[in-house]
Each structure stands twice: as structure tokens, then as C-alpha cells.
């Protein structure tokens, strides 16, 4: 992946990719997992997941297939592609360096030169 994902717009994409890195899942599973892991802090409108899934599939970061769910219902399963894993890795490092940088600024006790 040469182009870097827009951080804000792409945060949901990043969460989706990370979720699917654990294995194939349908949209509802992805929603449940994000909800459980974040303790419902990111109260995502679940419907918004679907444009994200389809967008990622179009960009070949995911692939999909129809299968049966645990309740024997017809469900669409998504699976991360090799290209998707690459994107996840590069975006994850961008994300952590970003948060690290922000955290450093926010917790810094050093005054800037002009404020000394």
C-alpha cells in the first residue's frame, strides 16, 4: 500500500481490518467485537460498518463469500487479504506513532522555550 489512509476517515477501516485479522467474520460479528473490546466507548452506528466493509472489499483489502451463520442464516463473510494485512501493518504503525506523539505532547512537563 503506497497511499497512506486518511487517519480520521480511515479509523473505522483500521478497526475493521484489525478485527478481521483474527479470522473471517460477518458484519454483525465485527460490530459485536468492536463493541465488546472497546467496552462500548466507540458507539459506532452499526449501519456505517457496511459502507466501510464494501469500500475495503473494492480496494481488495478484503474478500467476501456467502455462508451460513451459527443460526443457519445466510450471511456474508469477510476475510482479510494479503494486501489487507500489509495495509493493516503500515496503518497500525502510523497510528501508534501518531498517538505516541500526541501523548508525548500532552504529558510533557518541559516548557517550550518561549514560555520559560
Amino acid at each position: 500500500m503506497s497511499t497512506s489512509l486518511d487517519l480520521l476517515q480511515g479509523t473505522l477501516d483500521l478497526l475493521v481490518l484489525k478485527t478481521l485479522s483474527w479470522g473471517p467474520a460477518h458484519g454483525y460479528d465485527v460490530a459485536r467485537w468492536i463493541q465488546d473490546v472497546t467496552g462500548d466507548v466507540l458507539r459506532v452506528e452499526e449501519g456505517s460498518l457496511y459502507p466501510a466493509l464494501h469500500r475495503l472489499e473494492k480496494r481488495k483489502l478484503l474478500k467476501s463469500s456467502w455462508g451460513l451463520s451459527r443460526n443457519n442464516r445466510r450471511a456474508k463473510y469477510y476475510e482479510i487479504t494479503a494486501k489487507g494485512r500489509e495495509a493493516l501493518a503500515s496503518e497500525a504503525s502510523t497510528w501508534s506513532s501518531f498517538t505516541k506523539a500526541v501523548t508525548t505532547v500532552m504529558t510533557s512537563a518541559d516548557r517550550p522555550a518561549w514560555a520559560k
Binding site: L8, A31, E45, Y50, S69, A75
Partner: protein, 907 residues
């Protein structure tokens, strides 16, 4: 349960009906089913599970559209149907958001509805009176024609009826046709009871000029105006419905006047016909009689000016051209009629003919008050909008978290703006609809309550223009007051907002500034309006306390006319009138009684006169009245010099007149010109000279708020000529009592019956009601303005309250800290109230400056009141400050109840 939902979801989707979309639909349907199952498994009842699921999913229609767009490789270019479906989605989402905070939504709705309602009702009146054409076909061609003599008065707004026949020569050149209207008073017997009904005499051409015909029956024909023809009348729709039960068989029936004469009803006018128009100085008539050019009318040429001429311009002829053409005829009149106009020209100068738009005449002086009222409701709307805006700001701040998340999820700025606009439009459109409903009712009330039926002659109603203005206001308000705060809410950085929402110890600075601006502007606008209303009310109370020149309290007046048939000669008339007055004085509780031909404030009888020793070029005008002995005493009109009339001023004694102070000072140059001579008419008129025997205090002849006219009083008992007799055949009787008497009207009727049981007593009413009527329009406008100011104060009060209440909730944590470190209860109150009063003081300063600049607009409407009246300004400022204290004290008390430990953990 779940299959039912799934199938209804599918049925819902089948509206979009595309097979290609089936996969996406199945995928979403699967999600919905799974979620519902889980909620039910967790113990929710099925309906709640369904609702919670849809809530959780968010705006499904929109997400489905976005997903499909991606599938169609159209991520950027959205098709029209997507836009529409996303707008529908926005509206549904907006409705849900609004429903979530119902009290706030209802508050905003009511504020806006009030503002829109007040605006729409005043604007629909302004629209009808100032903008819309008169309710006649091609009404811009209608003109009023009047005569004037520069030396008498610039324009008498009337013509001498006989001249109409000369002006008719211009028909076909200047005017298509020309008509006359004259005010008449009729007394009609309805169900055995005499009722006085306003009437007007019209020439048959009036219907042609106005292009209105009776809805039932026919209009007047020329044959109806001949002396031989039986009397016919056309009646108004209102009279027909009120008094004759809307019976179509009325046509051809006879109505009976109190004099015993009968007239055949030949036509009923349509409901929209209100004539004479207000501004022509005559009441709207219910009975129309044919105007006849009798010998009396022809003889009164250049003497009697009590008819109004109006006409319809010939196609392609301007008003200026018509005025020139009629002016030519006017210049010939002194040559054609040397006995009348010839002499008047000598005394009054050239005869001038004026042609004015009938529309402008009809509107008269109501233009400025209407515009002031429109400005006032504009202020009310502004304040209402500020309230709505503050509610939106509060909502936007409360939804910062939601906005931030949606940005993270990829919503663009445009997308969010569209969402905010949808919500605002939804709310404001509902408010406008509510306001329009209220306006429909309020407009009717305005028309019904306006003094003198003023608005009823105009086509007042909610038309396309009114709707367009209301719609435009809604859209502009939605844009300005909802998107701006919405965008401000968006400006916050998405990432930090999600995590740090509300964690700042003190509320955000820009948000606080926004709130300050709201409070300051509300106070400023409300203050300007309060000062305006205060000035009008002060002016009203000044008018009310004006001394009319007589004491109207405990005086009851009535009209009585002696019919020609039973009272053919002068002596019988005088005798009957004196007997009636005598019987009235005998009623227990009555202290005095008398009668006059022209009651003050009931339309003056203007005459020309010649003061003794005045140069012949000067022919001044005075108001005239014929009175019975005891009139001045009964009215308590103070004597300044000489004496009142007595029973001895009768036929055979030297002619005596009593004049008013103004007349004495202005035309005799003395406060006491007793013994000097007075002459009615021009210096060469055949009327004998009379001697001035007394001077009384000035009387307001027309209205309370005018300068007194010079006035002269003659004794009824000394008058014997034809015109004079016709003036005192009908008199207005005045009855002064010690206190308000119950059943006085019945006692009066009984007293009159002892003189002649056939006589009809009409219009019994207290004199102060008549005085009140002359300032009714002033009172109406001042009351409306006062009402709008009260509305503005209430809105501003609740607005300030709302903003502070919200601010206290936002600052819970800060307050908690302050209480924890030992701030006392009174400190907290001082903090909140002090801040509010400080802001209100800034608003008051701005408002005072605004009022200072604006009150000159109403200068012309004020009576004896300085537009910069210090007391009004100070009192209004005090009112606003008190409201600020009150509306901040309540939120401050709320702040006191904050438990520091909870507050610091808040959010």
C-alpha cells in the same frame, strides 16, 4: 416476531426495487435479525428489541445507499436518487434527534411559532392595506376627485355635489366614468325596533366605476334617481345576514324607516364589498341609497362640500392628465355659475381640482403605524430566532461527541451540514406551520377588533405573498441560526472530542462568548421594543388626560329627529324640543339636560364667516352648532367672558352668538370681544350680523389629539331659515346625571314618550364612549405594540433563563470545585446572577443606543411625548435588568444544589 420484522424490512426495501441490491439487503437484514435475537435473549420484549436495533443501526437508508454507491463504483458521484434518499434519511434521523429531547424541541417550536405567528398576522394586514390592490377590478385606475380653494383650505377632500354634472363632461376623455358618495344616517325599523344603520348615497355610476355589482338583485339605474321613482335601496351582505337571516327573498321586499317611509330592496352586495373606503372620512355603509340631484343639492353649489367624488381613469390617461382636463372644467365654473362659484372665486381664490389615487386616500394615515407594528413584530421574531439559536447551540454542544464520531466514521463537512439543515428545517417548518395557524386566527381577530372596521374594506388574508414571506423567513432562519451553531460544534477536533468531551474544568471559551452574544442581543432587542411600546402607552395616557373642553363623565347622549309630517313648522319643532328637554330634567338623578345640532367629536359642521372689521379677502372657517339653552351648563363648558344663552334668546331678540377662546383671540384679537359683530358666510352674504354675547373655553371638535378649531354657537330658538331648521330638526340631546343611573335609557324613552309616543330615541350612549372613539386607533396601535413588547420580554426572559440554565449545567464541575474549596451559597448566586446582570447591562446600553436612534421613527405617532422621554427609557431599562436578575436567579439556585463530590466526577 423476527420474521415479521425481516419481511417488513424487505417490503420496505422493495420500494427501491432493484434486484442487484438484493445481496446488500440480505446482508443488512441478517444483521438486523441477529441483533434483535440477541436483545430478546437478553430479556427485552420484542417491540423494544426492534426499536433498540434500528436505533443502534442508525440511518439504514443512508448507509444502504452509500454501500450501494460503492458497489456501483460511484463513491464520489452520488446519483439524484441517492441524494434524495439521503435527504429522506436525514429528515428521519432529524426527527428522531428532535424527539429525543422533547422539552427543548417544544420550547424551540413554540418560540418560533410565536414569532412567525405575530409576523404573519401583521404582515398580512400590511400586505392587504399597503401592497395589495383594493378589492375592485383594475383598482389602480380608481381615483378620488376633490375641489379646493387656496384661501379656504388647501384641499377639502370633497366636492360640491352639483359640480359632478359638469365634471361628467370629461367622461370618455379623462375618466371612463365618475360617481359620488355621500354619508347618510338612516333609522330602520327591524322587528318593530328602530335601529340606526350607517348608510351612503351613491350615484348609479358608482357600480360602473368600482366594477362591482350586487351578488343578488340589481344595481341602481338612472330611473331610480328621478323624483317620481319609488325609493329603492341596495343592502350590504353583512346587514342581509345579520338582520334579515340571509333570505334571498329579500329582493323586492320593503324596509321601513322610522319616519314611516318605505324603500324596496333591489340588491344585495357581495360579502367583500366594503364602502365607503376608510380614509374617505365616512363609516362603512350597510344601506345604499340612490343619490338624487334635487333642487336643494343644485342650490348648494360652492356652499355645501359633503360629497366625495371618485372615478375610473380612461385607459392610457395618467392622474396628472386627468387633473389637467378636470382643471379646465374647474376654471370654467365661476363663469358658468356667477352666483355661486363666481362669488366664491372672489373670496376664496381660484378653484383647484385635485385627482388622487383612491388607494392612497383609503390608506390615509394608517401607513406609518402599520410599518411601526411590522418593525415591532420583526423584533419579536428576531428574539424568537435568538432563542431558537441558543437552543441549537446547546444541542450542538451536547452532541459534540456524536458529531466527532460521525466525522471519524467518514462523514464530510457537507454531509454534516446537510444533516443539521435537515433538522433545523424540520423544526422550523413545523414551527412555521403552527405560526401560520395562529396567524389565521390572529388576522381575523385583528380585522374584527380594529376600530371603525378599518381593515374590513381591504382584502386581508394569508395569500401567496404572505406565505412566500413566511417560507422565506423560515429558510433564512434555518440557515443562519442552525447551521452556524452546527458548524461551530463541528469545528472541534474529532479525536479529542471523543475522549475528552467535557473534561475541561471550565467551559470552552468560544462557546461562552457565543452565549454572551445571545444574552446581550436578546436584552438589547427587547429593550428597544419595550421603549417603543412605553412611549406609545405614555402618549396614549397623555391623550386620555387631554381636556376636551367639556366634562364627559356622567353624560349620556342620544339622537332624536322630529319627522317632517308631524312637525311641519318651526314653532312646533322648537316647542317639542324644549318640552323634551324639560321632561329629561325631571328624571330623578338628572342634574341638567339640553341639546345641540352638532355634538363635539361627531363630525363638525364647518362654515365660513366674516369677523367684524376683517379685510374682505379673508374668509376663515369655523365649526358651528345650534344649541338649546342650558347646553353649556350641561356639558360643563366653562364661560370665559359674557354670558351663556338663556330662554330669552328667542325670535324677536337681537341675534346672539357665543364663540370660543381660540376664535376670540385669533379673529377678534381679544379675550373678551363681547358686543362685537359676527357674520356667517362671506362679507357680501345676505345673513344679518349677530352680536357676540359670550366666550367659552375651547372644545376639541373632531378628536382629542387635534388643535381646537375656532367654534361658534347659535341659539336654536333664534333660527328660522330653511337650512337652519333642517339642522335642528334632528338634535343630539345631552343628559347629565349625578351618578351612573341604571335604566337611564328606559327613563329617557319614557320621558320622550310623554311628549310624543311616536318619537324614536336613537344611539343612547355615554359621552365618554364618543370621546374614546376618537382615540380608538391610537389605543389599538399602542395596545398591539404593548402586546408585542410583552411577548418580546417573555421571550427574552425565557431565552436568558435557558442559556444560563445550560451554562450552569455545563459548569457543574467548575461549580463543584468552587463549593469544595469553600465557596458559599451566596457566592454561587452572586457568580451566576452577577454574570447575567453584567451581560444584561451591556445589552441595555446597546438597546438604549438603538432606541435613541430608532424612536424618531414613531415621533409622528406620539402625542405630547418626547421620543427620547427619559422616564420611559429608564423604566424600560430597569424592567430588562429585573428580568435578567429573575431569570438568572433560578438557574443560580440550581447551582446551589450541586453536590461537589458528584459534580467533580461528572461526565
Amino acid at each position: 416476531m423476527t420474521p415479521r420484522l425481516a419481511s417488513s424490512w424487505r417490503r420496505y426495501l422493495s420500494f427501491f426495487g432493484a434486484r442487484v441490491e438484493r445481496d446488500v439487503d440480505d446482508e443488512l437484514a441478517f444483521h438486523v435479525q441477529e441483533r434483535i435475537d440477541e436483545y430478546i435473549a437478553a430479556g427485552m420484549d420484542p417491540d423494544a428489541a426492534r426499536t433498540a436495533t434500528l436505533e443502534r443501526l442508525g440511518d439504514l437508508t443512508r448507509y444502504r445507499g452509500e454501500t450501494l454507491a460503492i458497489e456501483h463504483q460511484e463513491e464520489r458521484r452520488r446519483t439524484m436518487s441517492d441524494v434524495i434518499s439521503s435527504i429522506i434519511g436525514d429528515i428521519r434521523f432529524g426527527a428522531r434527534q428532535l424527539g429525543r429531547n422533547l422539552p427543548l424541541t417544544i420550547a424551540a417550536l413554540l418560540c418560533f411559532a410565536l414569532g412567525v405567528g405575530a409576523n404573519t398576522s401583521i404582515f398580512s394586514v400590511v400586505n392587504a392595506v399597503l401592497f395589495r390592490p383594493l378589492p375592485f377590478p383594475d383598482s389602480d385606475k380608481l381615483v378620488m376627485i376633490s375641489e379646493g380653494m387656496p384661501k379656504l383650505a388647501a384641499d377639502i377632500n370633497a366636492i360640491s355635489a352639483a359640480d359632478l354634472l359638469d365634471f361628467k363632461e370629461s367622461e370618455g376623455r379623462a375618466l371612463q366614468s365618475i360617481a359620488l358618495v355621500q354619508q347618510r344616517a338612516t333609522t330602520v325599523m327591524i322587528n318593530g325596533e328602530a335601529q340606526s344603520i350607517p348608510a351612503a348615497a351613491l350615484t348609479p355610476s358608482a357600480f360602473k366605476v368600482l366594477r362591482v355589482n350586487p351578488a343578488v338583485g340589481r344595481a341602481f339605474a338612472d330611473a331610480d334617481t328621478t323624483a317620481a321613482a319609488g325609493l329603492v335601496v341596495v343592502i350590504s351582505d353583512g346587514l342581509w345576514r345579520r338582520q334579515f337571516g340571509a333570505d334571498r327573498a329579500m329582493i323586492g321586499k320593503q324596509i321601513t324607516f322610522s319616519t314611516g317611509r318605505t324603500a324596496e330592496v333591489i340588491g344585495i352586495m357581495p360579502p367583500s364589498f366594503g364602502f365607503p373606503l376608510p380614509g374617505l372620512g365616512m363609516p362603512v355603509a350597510d344601506i345604499f341609497l340612490p343619490f338624487r340631484f334635487t333642487q336643494g343639492v343644485m342650490n348648494a353649489r360652492a356652499d355645501n362640500f359633503n360629497t366625495v367624488a371618485f372615478g375610473r381613469l380612461q385607459d392610457g390617461v395618467t392622474m396628472a392628465r386627468a387633473e389637467a382636463l378636470l382643471g379646465e372644467i374647474g376654471r370654467q365654473l365661476p363663469l358658468r355659475y356667477p352666483e355661486s362659484w363666481g362669488k366664491a372665486k372672489v373670496n376664496g381664490g381660484d378653484l383647484l381640482i385635485h385627482v388622487k389615487s383612491l388607494r392612497a386616500t383609503a390608506v390615509g394615515e394608517s401607513r406609518r403605524p402599520l410599518l411601526v407594528l411590522l418593525g415591532a413584530v420583526g423584533f419579536v421574531l428576531l428574539i424568537a430566532c435568538i432563542n431558537v439559536a441558543s437552543l441549537f447551540v446547546a444541542r450542538a454542544s451536547a452532541r459534540k461527541r456524536e458529531i466527532a464520531i460521525r466525522k471519524v466514521l467518514g462523514a464530510t463537512r457537507g454531509r454534516l451540514t446537510q444533516q443539521f439543515l435537515a433538522e433545523a428545517l424540520l423544526l422550523l417548518a413545523a414551527g412555521s406551520a403552527l405560526g401560520l395557524l395562529a396567524a389565521r386566527w390572529a388576522t381575523r381577530a385583528l380585522v374584527a377588533l380594529a376600530p371603525g372596521n378599518f381593515y374590513s374594506s381591504f382584502d386581508v388574508g394569508i395569500d401567496a405573498r404572505v406565505l412566500a414571506v413566511t417560507g422565506g423567513l423560515t429558510v433564512i432562519t434555518a440557515l443562519v441560526f442552525s447551521i452556524l451553531p452546527g458548524l461551530r460544534g463541528q469545528q472541534s477536533d474529532g479525536e479529542t472530542s471523543i475522549r475528552e468531551e467535557g473534561r475541561s474544568a471550565t467551559a470552552n471559551r468560544t462557546r461562552q462568548r457565543g452565549r454572551r452574544i445571545l444574552i446581550v442581543s436578546e436584552v438589547a432587542f427587547a429593550l428597544v421594543l419595550t421603549i417603543g411600546a412605553g412611549l406609545m402607552l405614555r402618549s396614549l395616557s397623555r391623550v386620555r388626560s387631554v381636556n376636551p373642553g367639556f366634562d364627559a363623565e356622567n353624560v349620556v347622549v342620544f339622537n332624536l329627529s322630529l319627522p317632517n309630517a308631524a312637525y311641519p313648522d318651526v314653532d312646533r319643532i322648537k316647542l317639542a324640543e324644549q318640552q323634551i328637554v324639560q321632561r329629561l330634567r325631571e328624571i330623578p338623578g338628572v342634574t341638567s339636560a339640553s341639546a345641540t345640532s352638532n355634538l363635539p367629536m361627531q363630525g363638525p359642521w364647518l362654515i365660513t364667516f366674516t369677523p367684524e372689521g376683517a379685510p374682505p379677502s379673508q374668509v376663515p372657517v369655523a365649526s358651528n352648532a345650534l344649541v338649546l339653552p342650558g347646553f353649556f351648563e350641561a356639558m360643563r363648558m366653562p364661560l370665559r367672558a359674557g354670558r351663556y344663552f338663556t330662554e330669552n334668546d328667542t325670535k324677536g331678540t337681537p341675534g346672539a352668538v357665543i364663540i370660543t377662546e381660540t376664535m376670540a383671540r385669533k379673529y377678534y384679537g381679544s379675550a373678551s370681544p363681547i358686543g362685537r359683530k359676527f357674520k356667517r358666510g362671506s362679507p357680501d352674504s345676505p345673513v344679518p350680523l349677530t352680536e357676540i354675547v359670550g366666550v367659552v373655553a375651547d372644545v376639541k371638535t373632531r378628536t382629542l389629539d387635534e388643535e381646537p378649531l375656532p367654534a361658534v354657537y347659535h341659539a336654536v330658538l333664534q333660527q328660522d331659515t330653511g337650512l337652519m331648521v333642517s339642522m335642528y330638526r334632528g338634535l343630539a340631546y345631552v343628559v347629565r346625571t349625578r351618578a351612573t343611573l341604571p335604566n337611564l335609557a328606559a327613563s329617557i324613552r319614557a320621558a320622550v314618550r310623554t311628549v310624543d309616543p311616536k318619537l324614536v330615541v336613537l344611539n343612547v350612549r355615554p359621552m365618554d364612549a364618543i370621546v374614546g372613539e376618537t382615540i380608538a386607533t391610537r389605543k389599538f396601535n399602542a395596545t398591539l405594540l404593548g402586546l408585542f413588547a410583552a411577548l418580546a420580554l417573555a421571550l427574552a426572559g425565557t431565552g436568558v433563563y435557558g442559556v444560563l440554565q445550560y451554562s450552569v449545567i455545563q459548569r457543574k464541575r467548575e461549580m463543584g470545585i468552587r463549593i469544595a474549596v469553600g465557596a458559599s451559597a451566596s457566592d454561587m448566586i452572586r457568580l451566576v446572577v452577577g454574570q447575567a446582570v453584567g451581560l444584561a447591562a451591556i445589552g441595555v446600553a446597546i438597546g438604549l443606543a438603538g432606541a435613541f436612534a430608532l424612536t424618531r421613527v414613531i415621533r409622528a405617532l406620539l402625542f405630547n411625548t418626547d421620543p427620547l422621554d427619559g422616564i420611559t427609557f429608564a423604566a424600560s431599562a430597569l424592567v430588562l435588568l429585573s428580568i435578567a436578575v429573575l431569570s438568572s436567579y433560578l438557574p443560580a439556585r440550581r447551582a446551589l444544589r450541586i453536590d461537589p463530590t458528584i459534580a467533580m466526577r461528572a461526565e
